[in-house]
């Protein structure tokens, strides 16, 4: 019965533009999120963290008694209460209740009270003494002090020395980039209650319900089958809810266990920003060689990520950064070292792109800086170095479908009328000394699959009820990316029923166990194949019934007859991605099922008086395979692009690195101090096209993953800013631009190029 995964039947539901399956619930305010459930739960206790204000130190005294005198306070949770393992992570380096404070704001205990105000006052009453220890706050300090954590990685192919020997020009430099706050609109939230027989039910805003379940279980000393985690939906995740929710869920679960009452943990925005991990900032030093044809002959670089206080996902993030330093360019000889700095800051974590954007920024920065020195148009330099079919990546995997890069590039240049606009820009720049326009084109090549092969599996549970209605569970979580919409479309397509007959149930660990995180853009690829597998099992069992009743028998009659025939009308589906391999020790193999491609051209105008700028036009051609759900995919491309734009131009994480009393504090821990893109950052003219003739063999209905890759299209804006800044100076000067390229950063870049005049 099983058909090739990619084959799409005629008249398929997949490929139809559909609004988000919960759009009606969203716009009417009826969609429920974890903390909305808490509002509807009787007798809930509210939790508040007891935080500390040293960036590093030992807890020498923790007195919770004063909190218990605060009216409304019910209990204070400390490390003494933990029956299992006092650890919020998987690497045993993240104590849930620490005795060593590792960053400013680190929570050492939690207060439970009848209302949030009492919990807050109770937390303030807890007395904590901390004996300060020296703190490391910047990557530069960490490098100087050799403060690293986790594995040192090396990615190497070819002979770098020979590559540099073959180069006619070599350049070296340093590239630094800031991290990024996820700023999902819904902050971390968990609600736990104990059902009969000690069974824990935890509702959690989590991208990884299985791991939340495992960590709740190990904190409480329970087996996994005693803990059920449900995720209704998330108000955004972006990677920030892959690892970070577990500890909060464990606090809620521990509180519920000890008090017998439902416990709600919901962070305020300020707490969420101060306590939870972010995108890693990176420091990179590099050396690159070019030959006479401006082709790269060799690249060597050392990437140091700012991991924060614990490892979390820093190692795999670093691994993906190394695996994406090539972006879309062939590097004949390459050696990249990677290290994770340990700093006394929040523990940095997954964020859309997972290190890929940071790796790609390094090479785009390098090409943007070197082009004027080579005397070549940056767009020509980029295009000349694009992969061609079958060339090996630094980790040895051959690049397939490289023609898509070329095709997307060509389409952006043509539909974007780049040549005409370049002429207009040059004329405008010559005429106006105070405003300069810039244009840049950058490509994206992003590897799809979890680098860690075992994660590339998924399960689904599909029920067909006697009335013909269909209910799906699968292992993926919905955070706004439209995964559930796609899964409904996949099920409707496979079963051949109208979309309205299919419904999706919330993600629960007691429905589909042992799931992977909804991450790495892989949600639809993995879960879609598992849903399809379950549906096909059911169809296969229906085959004899259909043969008896005739091919045109209505679905409802078919199902009713099958029930009477005692046919099993539900099935568990499973999928694993075949053909993957990865040797983490040598960083070689075939870690990715395929690459997703895209190209963007961005045009900006920069004001020479202030460094402020506008993004005037962006043209994007992006490869989503044969789209499962075009409106959803368009939303992912546009949304990812604007989020990338925020990271690269606007969002500015600042920590207090002074020696004053606030040392280590995140000074931008609020929406008023940390600015993400608003409506005003939407490019005046944004044109997105899906790459045509892009079906992907071996993936569910020929589609491709779309969650992360478009974020990196925003590198085009950064390079366009560089182009515009350069126009304030003379040709042939390398323009250095800080990241994020805030108006102030652009202003200083302009001042530097004016100084070289």
């Amino acid at each position: 019965m099983s058909t090739p995964l990619a084959r799409r039947p005629a008249g398929a539901e997949v490929g139809t533009a559909r609004a988000h399956e919960a759009a009606t619930l969203h716009v009417t305010g009826r969609a429920l999120y974890t903390d909305d459930v808490a509002q509807r739960t009787h007798g809930v206790l509210h939790a508040h963290p007891v935080t500390t204000s040293a960036p590093h130190g030992l807890v020498t005294r923790l007195d919770t008694k004063p909190a218990l005198d605060v009216p409304g306070v019910v209990r204070v949770l400390t490390g003494d209460d933990v029956p299992g393992v006092n650890d919020a992570g998987t690497k045993h380096d993240e104590p849930l209740f620490p005795t060593e404070v590792m960053f400013h704001g680190h929570a050492v205990a939690w207060v439970l009270a009848e209302d949030l105000e009492s919990a807050r006052l109770g937390a303030a009453a807890v007395e904590v003494d901390v004996e300060p220890l020296p703190a490391v706050l910047t990557v530069a300090e960490a490098i100087e002090q050799d403060a690293y954590q986790g594995a040192h990685l090396r990615l190497e192919r070819g002979d770098v020395a020979a590559g540099f020997a073959a180069a006619t020009r070599t350049f070296s430099g340093v590239t630094e980039m800031a991290g990024q706050e996820h700023f999902y609109l819904e902050t971390h939230a968990s609600l736990a209650r104990v059902d009969d027989d000690g069974q824990l039910f935890v509702q959690c805003s989590t991208q990884h319900p299985t791991e939340t379940q495992e960590i709740v279980a190990h904190v409480l000393g329970l087996d996994s089958h005693q803990v059920t985690v449900q995720c209704l939906r998330m108000g955004g995740g972006f990677g920030g809810k892959e690892m970070q929710p577990h500890g909060f869920a464990a606090v809620a679960a521990l509180g519920a266990t000890l008090t017998g009452r439902p416990v709600r943990v919901r962070l305020t925005r300020a707490q969420d920003m101060a306590l939870t991990g972010k995108r890693h900032g990176f420091h990179a030093s590099w050396r690159v060689g070019f030959d006479d044809n401006d082709r790269i002959t060799a690249l060597e670089a050392t990437l140091t990520s700012d991991g924060g206080w614990s490892l979390d996902l820093s190692e795999p993030v670093l691994s993906r950064a190394l695996c994406h330093i090539d972006n879309a360019y062939y590097l004949p000889h390459v050696r990249i070292d990677g290290r994770v700095a340990q700093t006394n800051k929040t523990s940095q974590t997954a964020f859309r792109g997972f290190g890929g954007p940071q790796g790609m920024l390094v090479i785009e920065d390098l090409l943007g800086r070197c082009a004027p020195l080579l005397g070549i148009d940056p767009a020509d330099l980029r295009r000349r170095n694009l992969y061609t079919e079958g060339q090996p990546t630094p980790y040895g995997q051959r690049v397939r479908q490289a023609e898509r890069l070329e095709r997307a590039w060509q389409q952006v240049v043509e539909s974007g009328e780049v040549a005409r606009r370049r002429g207009e820009i040059a004329a405008a720049n010559a005429a106006d000394p105070h405003t300069k326009r810039g244009l840049a084109i950058t490509p994206v090549k992003f590897g799809i699959s979890f680098n860690f092969t075992a994660f590339n599996q998924a399960g689904a549970l599909v029920h067909v009820y006697k009335d013909g209605s269909v209910l799906i569970n699968h292992g993926g979580t919905e955070m706004g990316q439209g995964l559930h919409t796609k899964m409904l479309q996949v099920a409707a397509t496979t079963l051949g029923v109208p979309l309205t007959r299919v419904r999706l149930a919330p993600t629960r660990t007691d429905k589909v166990p042992n799931t992977s995180a909804t991450a790495a853009s892989s949600g639809a690829d993995l879960n879609g194949a598992a849903v399809k597998d379950a549906c096909e099992q059911i169809l296969e069992r229906l085959t004899p019934v259909r043969a008896r009743l005739g091919h045109h028998v209505p679905w409802e009659e078919l199902v009713a007859a099958a029930y009477l025939d005692r046919i099993q009308l539900w099935a568990a589906g499973f999928y694993r991605t075949e053909g993957l391999s990865w040797d983490a020790s040598t960083m070689t193999g075939e870690p990715f099922k395929y690459f997703a491609y895209g190209v963007a051209a961005a045009e900006v105008s920069v004001d020479g008086f202030t460094g402020s700028y506008t993004v005037d036009r962006v043209d994007i051609v992006h490869d989503v395979g044969d789209s499962l759900s075009p409106l959803v995919d368009l939303g992912q491309i546009e949304g990812g692009f604007v989020q990338g734009l925020g990271w690269l131009t606007l969002e500015d994480l600042r920590w207090d690195v002074s020696d004053g009393p606030g040392r280590g504090r995140l000074t931008t821990a609020s929406a008023s101090t940390y600015k993400l893109p608003s409506l005003s950052e939407l490019p005046a003219d944004l044109r997105v096209a899906l790459l045509e003739r892009a079906g992907e063999d071996g993936v569910v209905y020929g589609s491709k993953a779309v969650g992360e890759p478009p974020l990196m299209l925003a590198l085009s804006v950064r390079e366009a800013l560089r182009d515009a800044v350069g126009a304030f100076g003379v040709p042939g000067v390398a323009v250095e631009l800080a990241s994020p390229a805030t108006p102030e950063a652009v202003w200083w870049a302009i001042e530097r190029v004016r100084g070289e005049r």
Binding site: A19, T24, V27, Q481, T610, S672, T673, P677, E744
Partner: protein, 474 residues
């Protein structure tokens, strides 16, 4: 019938209980099961908590408008007597299929305007407020400047906004606009007082622990983020004595409790410099709540209004109670600020009115407001420069420059003004003055900008002003 106070929510009158501060309107609405509005930031920056309030039409005239406001900042007790509509309440009839969706909801849903959906009810309310704005010809996107979406990148939201047509003739919320706005109930509840008149307000504010609250865009933030608590919040936002608006030949007198939206609509272009400020002042959501008196009362060194009002040489009328009698005194704005968030305003004293001198428009008058910030909409200034100059025969004859963000208080750039008067209105001559201006104030390094950038921006502001003032019209 129960004792009051009451509030009308989505057309249903409900008793208003359990509202002692710090309970916000958002907390209260969520507590009665209306969980559509969300807390995204608790400081009026993200708009996920946006709801509609029936308020007197900002232009005046006695009718009603639906104003979107941040429910996370508003004290719940302030809702007494008011009419609130949430995203849930916009859906027509019983909850059902998409046929029942409000036009704003339908456009957003069908165009992919929601992804995670968390910000969506707030966008719905902000968009609905603009949908119902009287006399709207096109959709003003600034209506959405106080709403953040992290998923969509905004394009489908903008498309949805632009697709909106006129409300249907029988649209209940549209019809509601033709009648008078509800009058908030004067009442005292635990921790909250809405006094009947100014004398009662001033008497209450004379007690220690009492604090005046109007739009709560500052009080709410301090309560939510810093845990500041007052024994009593005294609502002054609807006191008639603070809501006057008068224009005569000498100038405009603006009641301190008028919101920024009301100030903008009632000035109706009379003070071009303020028009430039207002569109850059926070967001529509905040401007619907924040008052001109509150903005000066809080005396923030980075507030955008103060530099402009300094350049306009505004005066304040302060009121207090003297032996039970309301007394007034006047103070020039330039003499009002005394230090970081410190002013000559005494405890228990309120700003009653702001006087803005008006001079007849002259051909050589140049005014401008330069806001330096990371984000174009809804950001706090790193530096702000307000200009009011007269140029005659190629020479500057009068200069008033207000600065924000470069010292502990907003200030007049006196040295630059002096250097400017008599200076030729030419780039070459102005470069010297720009250097003087760049040395004004005592700017700091902080998360918004470096001191060096702030100083540079002061100097650049003059060159930019000249460039834009003398550039041939496009």
């Amino acid at each position: 019938m129960e004792e009051g106070p009451f509030v009308t929510v989505n057309g249903v009158v409900r008793p208003l209980r359990g509202t002692a501060p710090p309970v916000t309107a958002l907390d209260w609405l969520r507590g009665i099961g209306l969980t559509g509005a969300k807390e995204g930031c608790a400081e009026g920056e993200c708009g996920a908590c946006s709801v509609l309030l029936a308020r007197p039409a900002a232009e005046g005239g006695g009718t009603t408008e639906w104003a979107a406001t941040n429910a996370c900042l508003l004290p719940a007790a302030a809702l007494a007597g008011q009419e609130v509509v949430t995203a849930e309440g916009l859906t027509v009839g019983e909850w059902g299929g998409s046929a029942d969706l409000h036009p704003v909801q339908r456009e957003l849903a069908e165009r992919g305007g929601s992804q995670c959906g968390y910000c969506t009810p707030g966008f719905v309310c902000s968009m609905a407020a603009e949908y119902y704005r009287a006399g709207r010809d096109t959709f003003d996107l600034h209506a959405l400047s106080g709403n953040l979406c992290r998923c969509t990148g905004y394009r489908p939201i903008v498309d949805a906004a632009r697709a909106l047509r006129e409300p249907a003739p029988d649209d209940a919320l549209a019809l509601r606009r033709h009648h008078a706005a509800p009058v908030p109930t004067t009442h005292a509840s635990p921790g909250f007082l809405r006094p009947a008149d100014l004398a009662e307000a001033l008497a209450a504010l004379a007690e220690t622990g009492a604090r005046a609250v109007a739009g709560a865009t500052d009080v709410g933030v301090e309560s939510n983020l810093r845990g500041d608590r007052s024994d009593l919040l005294v609502a002054i936002d609807r006191l008639a004595e603070l809501r006057g608006f008068a224009v005569d030949e000498r100038g405009v007198e603006v009641g301190a409790a008028l919101t920024l939206t009301e100030v903008e609509r009632r000035l109706a272009g009379r003070v071009p410099l303020l028009d430039e400020v207002v569109v850059q002042f926070a967001s529509r959501l905040i401007r619907n709540a924040a008052t001109i008196g509150g903005n000066l009362g809080t005396a923030s060194p980075v507030g955008d209004l103060a530099p402009a009002l300094l350049a306009l040489e505004a005066e304040l009328v302060l009121v207090s109670l003297d032996s039970g009698r309301v007394v007034e005194r006047e103070v020039a704005l330039v003499d009002y600020f005394t230090g970081y968030r410190a002013t000559v305003r005494r405890p228990g004293e309120l700003i009653a009115r702001v006087r803005i001198p008006l001079s007849p428009p002259a051909p050589g008058t140049v005014t401008a407001f330069h806001k330096i910030a990371k984000r174009r909409f809804d950001d706090i200034s790193s530096a702000a420069i307000a200009w009011s100059l007269d140029v005659s025969d190629g020479v500057v004859t009068r200069a008033a420059i207000g600065l924000g963000g470069v010292a502990a208080t907003p200030l007049r750039a006196r040295a630059s003004e002096e250097a400017l008067v008599g200076c030729a209105w030419q780039q070459s001559a102005l470069r010297e003055v720009a250097r003087v201006l760049a040395a004004e104030g005592t700017p700091m390094d902080d998360h918004r900008a470096s001191a060096a950038y702030r100083s540079a921006m002061l100097g650049q502001s003059l060159l930019r002003l000249h460039h834009h003032a003398t550039r041939p019209a496009a």
